[in-house]
Symmetry: C2
């Protein structure tokens, strides 16, 4: 069985950086954006739209209440259609992840991969950080024309993480970030992403 590492992560905590560093150190595949591209191809939806669905960005109609109360609501063509799109994106996401896991050792960031790939017994990592540290990281990574105040950044971080939690809970029935769903949880406020990646690589190389 291939070695699969899944990384769940709070927005602003450095989870992607950890994934990239680990894949460099271990010399294995790293999947993040590629998943979206592949889903877009298969569902024939635009990449940006798939991205919106899996990240639940602002302004996107949220399907949780529809999904949960399917037999109670009075359906309109619109909600049915949206629901179908969301479901097909999730289904294709699961297919894509399984194919990736069967191809080779790999690291997968986000996408409920810890849950979808559980039969592959992945090493499930969750990366988080204190709020101040997340704000700091967002500032360092911000585009030049993005000029958010700390308060705005805090709101943005809370919102994105709330959506990630909802998405994860909707599709897995489990609580996002709850330690029982992971093998290792790393707070990148005190332990740097670099040293965490090196310690993990060291550990995995001994296995």
């Amino acid at each position: 069985m291939n070695r699969i590492i899944t990384i769940g992560r709070e927005f602003g905590s450095g989870g992607r950086e950890l994934g990239k560093r680990l894949s460099d150190l271990l010399g294995c595949a790293y999947y993040d954006k590629e998943i979206i591209e592949e889903i877009a191809k298969r569902t024939q939806l635009a990449e940006s739209y798939v991205q919106q669905i899996v990240e639940q960005r602002t302004g996107v109609f949220f399907p949780i209440t529809i999904g949960r109360t399917l037999h109670h609501v009075h359906h309109t063509v619109g909600t049915d259609y949206m629901l179908k799109q969301y479901t097909s994106v999730y289904t294709e996401q699961a297919n894509v992840l399984r194919e990736m896991a069967e191809k080779s050792d790999c690291i997968i960031v986000g996408r409920c991969a810890d849950y979808i790939l559980k039969s592959h017994k992945p090493l499930r990592i969750f990366v988080y950080a204190d709020m101040d540290s997340k704000i700091e990281r967002c500032k360092l990574k911000a585009e030049k024309d993005e000029n958010l105040t700390d308060t705005q950044l805090r709101k943005k971080i809370i919102k994105i993480n709330k959506n990630r939690a909802k998405y994860y809970e909707y599709y897995t029935g489990k609580k996002w970030g709850d330690r029982s769903n992971y093998d290792l949880c790393v707070n990148t406020s005190a332990v740097s992403v670099k040293e965490c990646a090196e310690a993990l690589a060291h550990m995995l190389e001994q296995r």
Copy 2:
């Protein structure tokens, strides 16, 4: 400042073993039972009684409601006396921990050390495991004459961990085992205590 590592742990998860292994690898002090001995000396209470207080074993009168509602309850000499003992144990525990932290690098298991020593900026580890794995570990460690069934062990584990959670919450106001209180949370069901200790030692040696 000395390097302090605190280890919070679910009963049955191997937290003590992790502490011991780390202290062997890093060559630093390891405190566990020594804390109880020192508190007993200072409070002039029996070690076994101090142990009961800090572990909230079965049959021990639990002070949380008293502490919380101090000015509402009708006091009896008994509860006043108990409360005083509990408080002095906690106070001495804090003193002992601070002295240990100031003496040398050290690893401290349990005792709300992550909270009490926060000004020392400890590396705060929390060790946990799936229930089946905790039951398995308890069986391996059981005394020869202890013959508990899985159901009995499960109950024992839940009870002890519930008490640890209450104790931690009472003295720190924080949720025991909540990832935000720790730098690293390790699930010893998938990652062995040995490899976790080695990875951590490797990381700390690079610092």
